[in-house]
């Protein structure tokens, strides 16, 4: 089985076994209560041979983070129900590929994270994302704050091995506060899952399926977005697909999130 097939046939939240499946809740209060019940219940596991401990109920990304180990993510957002859609967090658990963000930590798990074949899979995913959109970093205002770019640097991507698609995608500039550039969208659904109005309505949605899938907005709701909400939307997007209008390039080079340290280094600096 090819590397790409292996990674995309690995387990997702929907098909992992019951004991490994985390009972996620979209309700933050419910989640907190759930956490407090298991706070002192430590789970033991290993990542790349290192013995680790984490709270019961944590997913693998969080559990690794608590032990100073970085598992890369793109679609995952803390506090939001994981989707396992970007596949960048794939690790091997007891020899099988699984997405770390959708997998609850369990006692005795032997996890492989920083191995050659997993890095290779991650590189393939990063390169695939770059070629399937038009990620022109030099002029993108998210440059330096972009998680995809930061992962490209971390995994030393020099040039994608795949041909660029350069499919022209329509931008949506019609709302007053945000600019949607679908050429940069990686369909992670962070915005769909996390950006709601106060009464719980979704501002963003995915239209279409397969290669026709694209991010869309409810114009009526988007027209009412405040500056704060627009900024939050821009910050939620891991790439430069959602831009707050008229904000461009206010962060000087040198002070942007990933200018000085690579993505993940803030996690890895803990417990060292």
């Amino acid at each position: 089985m090819s590397l790409i097939k292996r990674i995309f046939s690995s387990k997702t939240e929907e098909n992992i076994s019951g004991e490994q499946k985390k009972e996620y809740s979209e309700n933050e209060d419910h989640k907190n209560t759930n956490k407090s019940n298991v706070m002192n219940d430590k789970i033991k596991f290993t990542i790349d041979g290192k013995e680790c401990k984490a709270d019961k109920g944590a997913n693998l990304v969080e559990a690794a983070k608590a032990n100073g180990i970085f598992i890369p993510t793109l679609c995952h957002l803390e506090g939001v129900k994981p989707a396992g859609s970007c596949r960048i967090c794939n690790v091997k658990i007891n020899g099988r590929f699984m997405t770390a963000c959708t997998t609850e930590i369990a006692d005795g798990m032997m996890i492989e994270n920083n191995t050659t074949d997993i890095q290779e899979l991650r590189n393939i995913i990063i390169e695939t994302l770059f070629v399937s959109g038009n990620h022109y970093c030099p002029a993108c205002e998210k440059s330096g704050n972009c998680e995809l770019q930061a992962l490209g640097y971390r995994y030393k991507m020099l040039v994608p091995r795949f041909p660029f698609e350069f499919e022209e995608k329509v931008v949506d500039a019609s709302t007053p506060k945000i600019f949607i550039d679908r050429n940069r969208c990686i369909l992670c659904k962070r915005c769909v899952r996390s950006l709601k109005t106060k009464d719980g309505k979704s501002i963003f949605a995915i239209n279409g399926r397969g290669h026709k899938a694209m991010i869309n907005i409810d114009h009526e709701l988007a027209n009412k977005m405040t500056d704060e909400e627009a900024q939050n939307a821009m910050d939620t997007c891991p790439v430069g697909s959602i831009l707050k209008k008229e904000r461009g390039y206010v962060d000087p080079i040198g002070s942007r999130k990933y200018d000085k340290k690579p993505i993940g280094s803030e996690i890895e600096s803990v417990n060292k």
């Binding site: 002029a139 008229e246 000087p252 080079i253």
Partner: protein
């Protein structure tokens, strides 16, 4: 039988171009042309992008003077975001941008003079090309070479401190700037270890002007006579007539010094300037509307700027300016090779201006951005190292760019460069039976005086082969030579 000589590519200039020279049966030059054989397309592919991207995106058309495009675009967008037409920024915003710009002029002029031009002057136009290059300069005149490298470095560091990066920074944003200068940066420029401090840069700039003046004295005939021709000159000048490379009004003078464009607002540039398209070059030919296509062309760049301005607002450069003006009795200087003299006076002026700005407390504190009532269109004009640079943008109600028009400095110099090529070809090739490498280089020397940025890209140092092809009237190749 008519012969056609092709010089391709032209070396030690920025970008790709070629020269064709037609020689008739009597050995006279019947036609010569500088062709720009690249197509960039930025005006088209920025359409649809959010307007605030323009200063960062469009500067990518150049790796030598991106700051000029960055600032010209930012100035056009200042108008669009309601920050006025050049004088509405906060003191910090304007001064940081000026510092960035003087750093850019300083490094670009240093690159041109020391790296690209000095081999011609130090070794001679017809010297062996194996020696007549920057490596030859490093070997024979190491002090001069180091000076050129360090001056360029200083300018690049100034750009980094103001724009965030040495090449393709993001400092200028619509309505202002995105950072202050830090105390550490200020100290390093003012009091950095020798030679990287501003006093040394001023001192070296004075030396460079003196070097050129001494060379001029010994090579008067060449410097004064080579590819000299009368022309109009255009640039922006400060409202009081001072040399101002960042902002001002449009002024043009004819070959005798008579004003033919009277300090007009560049927002209205389309009332005064048009561009002609010719089918043999991707570069357009701008001209002053009221003088027509035939007579409306003009020169831009250092020579033009010193011909249009009344004075230079920095003491050492002003002293040199007075000497420069006195040489032509106050009349416009129409000698192509005096472009180098003017360029070095501008290096000195830039160094002096950088020192003044570095001592200005506004750079380290104060508001960065100002915005007002949004407009749908704006024009930004700046004096880039190579001359007057126009950026013109229009946006729609969704903040997307709908139109971009760029008239870059080298485009403004298109006709003058063609005239210079023709003169050099006539001077060196008329009646010659054998075309030598030195003759070909003479044509390039004429082009090089204008420091053209043919694609606004980074190609330099004579690494590309120079090819000359002799063809007969039926386009049969008679002879071919490569350097």
């Amino acid at each position: 039988m008519e012969q056609k000589i092709t010089i391709e590519p032209v070396t030690r200039v920025e970008g790709h171009g070629k020269v064709t020279i037609h020689i008739d049966d009597e050995g006279n030059i019947s036609q010569s042309r500088l062709h720009i054989v690249e197509f960039r397309g930025f005006e088209r592919f920025v359409q649809g992008r959010p307007y605030w991207e323009a200063p960062v995106l469009v500067q990518r058309l150049c790796g030598i003077c991106p700051v000029s495009h960055h600032l010209a675009a930012a100035k056009a967008l200042d108008v669009i975001v309601g920050a006025g037409t050049g004088d509405g920024l906060t003191p910090t915003g304007e001064k940081m941008r000026r510092l960035m710009h003087y750093g850019q002029i300083f490094q670009s002029h240093a690159l041109h003079f020391f790296h690209l031009v000095s081999p011609d002057l130090l070794f001679g136009v017809d010297a062996d090309p194996a020696i007549r290059n920057i490596i030859g300069v490093i070997k024979k005149h190491p002090d001069l070479a180091v000076q050129g490298v360090m001056m360029r470095k200083f300018g690049q560091e100034i750009i980094k401190a103001t724009a965030g990066k040495k090449i393709h920074g993001t400092g200028a944003i619509p309505g202002g700037i995105n950072k202050h200068l830090t105390q550490e940066e200020k100290d390093s420029f003012l009091n950095g270890p020798d030679p990287l401090n501003i006093d040394k840069m001023i001192s070296w700039s004075v030396d460079a002007v003196n070097f050129l003046k001494a060379y001029h004295k010994e090579n008067k005939e060449f410097i004064d006579g080579f590819a000299a021709f009368p022309s109009s000159h255009l640039s922006i000048v400060r409202k009081d007539g001072a040399l101002d490379l960042y902002h001002g009004v449009l002024r043009a003078v004819d070959a005798d010094g008579k004003k033919i464009l009277h300090d007009v607002d560049y927002q209205d540039y389309l009332k005064y300037i048009n561009e002609e398209v010719r089918n043999w070059s991707y570069m357009k030919f701008p001209y002053l509307l009221d003088r027509g296509k035939e007579n409306g062309w003009y020169r831009v760049g250092p020579l033009a700027r010193l011909n249009t301005c009344d004075f230079i607002p920095s003491p050492l450069a002003q002293k040199e300016f007075e000497e420069f003006k006195a040489y032509t009795n106050g009349k416009p200087n129409n000698m192509s090779m005096h472009m180098h003299w003017a360029r070095l006076i501008e290096i000195l002026h830039s160094a002096e201006m950088m020192k003044e700005l570095l001592n200005d407390p506004d750079l380290m504190k104060g508001d960065l951005v100002v915005k007002g009532k949004k407009l749908s269109e704006g024009v930004g004009v700046i004096e880039a190292p190579r001359g007057t640079l126009f950026h013109h943008y229009a946006i729609n109600e969704n903040d997307q760019l709908t139109m971009a028009n760029l008239i870059v400095s080298t485009t403004n110099n298109n006709e003058p460069m063609n005239v210079a090529v023709n003169l050099a070809a006539k001077q060196f090739m008329t009646g010659q039976k054998k075309i030598t490498e030195g003759m070909m280089n003479a044509v390039e020397v004429a082009i090089r005086a204008y420091d053209p940025c043919l694609s606004c890209a980074t190609h330099a140092l004579g690494q590309m082969p120079l090819e000359i092809v002799l063809v007969d009237r039926a386009n049969n190749i008679i002879d071919r030579k490569r350097t």
